[in-house]
Symmetry: D4
Subunit: 220 residues, 8 copies
């Protein structure tokens, strides 16, 4: 009744359905993961609380919990981490969202380079890590408040940049809207954007791009 699992998705997109835990009851999440784990490993559940994690353990399924990232991985198995994704954060307060991106990408089999707390209020911190940025196949830039970091990184590198605005801030940050608008209006050219606090979506798309870099497309 309550869930029609998209079992075909893995064939279609290479990744099984990802469970968004908010708004789902514990029994629903248990049921969904139980059925999925018959066919899949490294099942990602995002916005998962400790309570969700314990409920999955209780029904006898192996799983890992990444607390800062609020991600649970059910039926985990080791996976080679290839290529190079830079996950960059503006401040310390943006780290939970950055971790959601990083853990998503790692679980999907990518090597991640975390570059945290390099916001534009002290631009030399970013300039100091330019070499790390230049080595990445794709960059995820996570920033709240005015979100200016995405533009500055976008102007420095030649790889695609995925901006993740965060809800860090107050007042006229309007829960991340200021950073979102800032990134959408970036004057740097290679920047696209995902939803506010959507570290998962950025990590997922970064994985798609990084995998392209590693596995050369067939000649045309």
């Amino acid at each position: 009744g309550y869930a029609r699992i998209d079992t075909h998705r893995c064939a279609r997109t290479g990744v099984p359905e990802v469970i968004y835990c908010e708004g789902k009851s514990i029994p629903q999440i248990q049921g969904i993961i139980n059925r999925m784990s018959e066919h899949h490993s490294n099942i990602l559940a995002t916005r998962a609380t400790w309570e969700v994690f314990e409920a999955i353990e209780k029904i006898g399924l192996e799983c890992q919990y990444h607390e800062q990232a609020r991600i649970m991985v059910a039926n985990p198995r080791p996976v080679e981490q290839v290529g190079n994704i830079a996950v960059v954060s503006a401040g310390t307060s943006d780290i939970p969202v950055a971790e959601e991106a990083a853990v998503t990408a790692e679980t999907l089999g990518n090597h991640v380079n975390r570059i945290y707390d390099v916001g534009v209020a002290g631009i030399h911190r970013l300039l100091n890590v330019c070499d790390d940025l230049f080595e990445a196949n794709v960059s995820v830039v996570v920033a709240g408040m005015e979100g200016a970091l995405a533009s500055v990184v976008g102007g420095l590198v030649s790889c695609p940049v995925i901006g993740v605005p965060t809800s860090v801030g107050y007042g006229a940050s309007f829960g991340g809207v200021a950073a979102l608008l800032s990134m959408l209006n970036s004057c740097a050219s290679g920047v696209s954007v995902v939803n506010i606090d959507n570290g998962f979506g950025a990590g997922y798309q970064a994985s798609l791009i990084n995998k392209i870099a590693v596995n050369k497309a067939p000649p045309e």
Copy 2:
């Protein structure tokens, strides 16, 4: 005085500075392109009118004008078009923005497959062209009104999808905001978004990704 051309950009990002014509006077645009054409070819000028085109011709520079895309290419030279970028539009009215993406990508040396007028009001039109979608390294999806096409494409393909909301619509479309929010909240996982009507930005990022697919990254 009025322009500090980022001549270093080409070295940094592989593409010379792109001129955004809105808000610039004709003499300013002439001056900028004149200086740039000493070093660069295939100089992109976006949001260019016929008046801009004629002003550049007048100062003796060779250039091409793509009317629907509102793009002018100054100092044009033939460039091999490699890889495969799908540019998908929901309706006929979205074509100018789709063309901005397509012409940008072609000028930057990419092969583009145009798939127009396949919006979700008649979903079979999209299902009929699935094979074209599956062959692309990256898809640009251009849609106004409710912008649902980005999610549907995102659920079908395994390549990255870049959504471009357009200002096509009226009333509660709020100049493209409805489509923008729709794409930002896509329930499909590999979708990122650029600004409303920013075909240029989508074509540019699609080029970065498509080039990665063509030129395999060095093994790590």
Copy 3:
């Protein structure tokens, strides 16, 4: 003093007044239902909590509580469920709102077909249930995030579609605004919309339409 029950409404519209519980005190709700139950059965109270349910039981009135739907039916009596209303949900998290629509319609004497978790991220799930959709006299489509499902269903069926945007999502979903705008701007033609999370309103209007289908209007 506090309530002027619209006792005439049942004669006028065929349905007695429906009690919206939010913002009313327990004694007020008790008083209103007590007076209404002298004349009516199957009294609907929406946005009802367990506390409301218990308070009504306490004053000796028979009632049923539909927890997911947050609907209480006071003075319930069996009612034939006729016709065919499809209630469609995009995700598992949208089910509470879908249930509000379904329980409302059932209480008003309609047959409901629940079609849940068929969102556009995996469009084949929807295509698999097309026959169910074609049999309905009217469809209620419940979706959060980008709300694209209403347009896709609207493009497939020939019956009226009532879209219900939900507040499922985060960030730029703005508590359901993204889905609301998406549905209002639907490129499919037979779609109208009710307030965010207003499963009740959609179920109510669907009932009006389904009853028309069952009881043919007098010839003109």
Copy 4:
């Protein structure tokens, strides 16, 4: 290239594709209508200007122009107008949108009863026409400014009400947003809403409902 006409739509929904003229060039509209007229009659083109009308006449196609409604009907043929749809307007300034609904419904074969300028500032005007309202199978209520008329009609009748907010007003009407929000939050129960100024959408859905009333569904 520019249009992929949904020729299958007529089979699916009973109505051929409707052309939204804004954002399309004259040659595009000519091409689309030309191809459609090989298979269909009574082709609706909305938001059509006199210029569009003349361009269609010029290529030798028969067509009618409804100026207030901004609707052009290409390849017109007589169609029986059955049932009863009430199209109600709050003020004189709302009539163009009301006409878009009325002409759409009439072209699709419905009988329309126009009830104009009965806004709530003088409620007796509405009460005087109650009998007309009671006879309709479905009502379309068109109102700008505060859009209160939809709620008042919704509280009076037992048929479904489709609200159309209009952009009539100034200042804090925000181009129809005030009326839109008003209708979405209607305290009357059978009201659903379409986009601001979307007379077409309301007329279309009203037609679907009215046709149900006329052609009783098969017994279940």
Copy 5:
């Protein structure tokens, strides 16, 4: 330090300063009322909780608490209630705000006629009380959701109408914005508006107007 009581206000406007309790600490409120009670009686404190009430009693000041209205009156003394102010509410859920208006007006020495739960979903309820409305010198109309009641009352009466939008509702009511915009765009002519949930402000201005009616201005 923390408060500069506007002791001159009473001379200027006829009413001593009114204390808005939100955002003030208990000791601050105690200090302010203590000083004011040396000179004034019937001191109004709005948005007062039970905790505030008890804190004032504790420092030995006489006071009354109106729970629904969230108003505390310190140093109360009997005052003649003259004239006639109608306070009208759309639904039962709007009563707390209506009571804020009524208690404010009564404390300032006005006779108040409460007319509650006469919203437009059942317009006959309002028509039944027209005579009460006609007798008032000024009407305060309190409504949430779509706020249509202010326009309907405004079209019926010849006295000034002060609309008070309430935050009753959900989804696209946006915490009272729908009702606020509705009232600001009223098609009836004698309507002005105060802030969302600002029963106090409406009661205060109604008092000013009602007092004018009672105490005829000197001939000019």
Copy 6:
């Protein structure tokens, strides 16, 4: 067909229907005024252009045009101007809206005292005219930009204040929203507000209040 004149309104509210000219065609306005002038004099038409004025003269009706106020008075007759309404403007640019209020009030038979260009950037200008303010039965305060003048006046006087936000300003004035919000949140107590640029509505309500002051209500 197009207009259902509310001929009863004059009996009900003391003022015949007022014609809002925007969105009405010239023939519609001619028709409406023609019919109204059979029964009424001093017919107000707001938002009237010179073109409207000439069209009314052409059909042989006497009328006056107040250019700054954009008000036309058809079938004018002398009327005694009683009482005292202060119409206060913050700047020179707000005068057209202030004039709409003043001319409305004068046409309805009120004495108006214009106090223009006394905005808060130079507060002494306002303090210099305090005596004028104190003599008014009601004040209309017209201000754009930050609209602070309404609060300052509201804090000075003991009569009701009606704030009219204007669309004067740019950028974050958002077409008058800044002034509107400012006035709705006034920290002064006797202030209510009408729509942005709605000088008519303010003049109308001020007239209702001023008439109360002049014609003392019967003792109760």
Copy 7:
């Protein structure tokens, strides 16, 4: 890992990095302050709770807590307070934000003159303290609701004014947006604005300006 302290900032701007505590874990704050206190004194931590304060004391660092201002100063040392900054508040409820500005400025070595509760509802309170205002080198004006005080002060003084809108208010104050827009649209000329509730930012910039006044710039 989690923090890249901008140790160079003090050399660059004269003030060490300031810690924004929201969104940081206690161990993160402890770690950051611990490292910073090796080089700096008078380290500012804003939006600090009692819990943060106790956690810093626990690791053996000296610190002071300013409760109203929610500011913690780690490694405090006496600092001469020079010049003159006026911190002005409209109401008592705005004091916490005003204190954030005042304590920031004092910690950075400025003399602060607190002028509280002088809002425009009683303008004479402000006029009474004009001399205090005239003596300041720079004024910080803190106001919620309609935020009019910034404009009135800006029109009175010849020093720069920094407006701080606060979130004090309800309904259409939208969490401080009304005051923010009001201040941005100030009709007085020397006013700039910081984020809603950003007392820190205003105190910081006021300090920069006041220091300029005290330490005359070198002759050019």
Copy 8:
């Protein structure tokens, strides 16, 4: 009648009233400047068109017109330009607003250093001009699109920074709102903000601060 010139302002703030030309008629502007020029020189008129300029010349007053800045200076006289204000622009399209700031400051007697087209898409352009920035007493930073430049400059310098968001951009720039929010949420500490496109306001406040630097305050 139409203007109450604040002749006292010059004494109070050191600068005579500045005329905002939008919304004023030509005769009004002529009248105001005529009266002011009896007492003042270097009278600033902002948002002035060529038409305004010619109208002032016509009545025999000397004046200068700064076209890009849209500023007219009536009764001009030479004034020493002291101190050092940096006016920084992100792009070429932002220059008109930057010029409004620069010309305002120069007219008020300040030395201005123009640093244009140094936006963050090519951060090295800004780093190249750091020495110019370090020499300024105050910086005005003018940027549209995402407005990130204000934060980057704010993080580099130790002088106060005044951000001016511009309406340069499209789509989700919302006429400058993106840049405005970006600057209000700056993670750099010494940044305050003026209204969108308000170059005048920034130049004016910069002048106040620069004059403080030049004329040391008297010792306290």
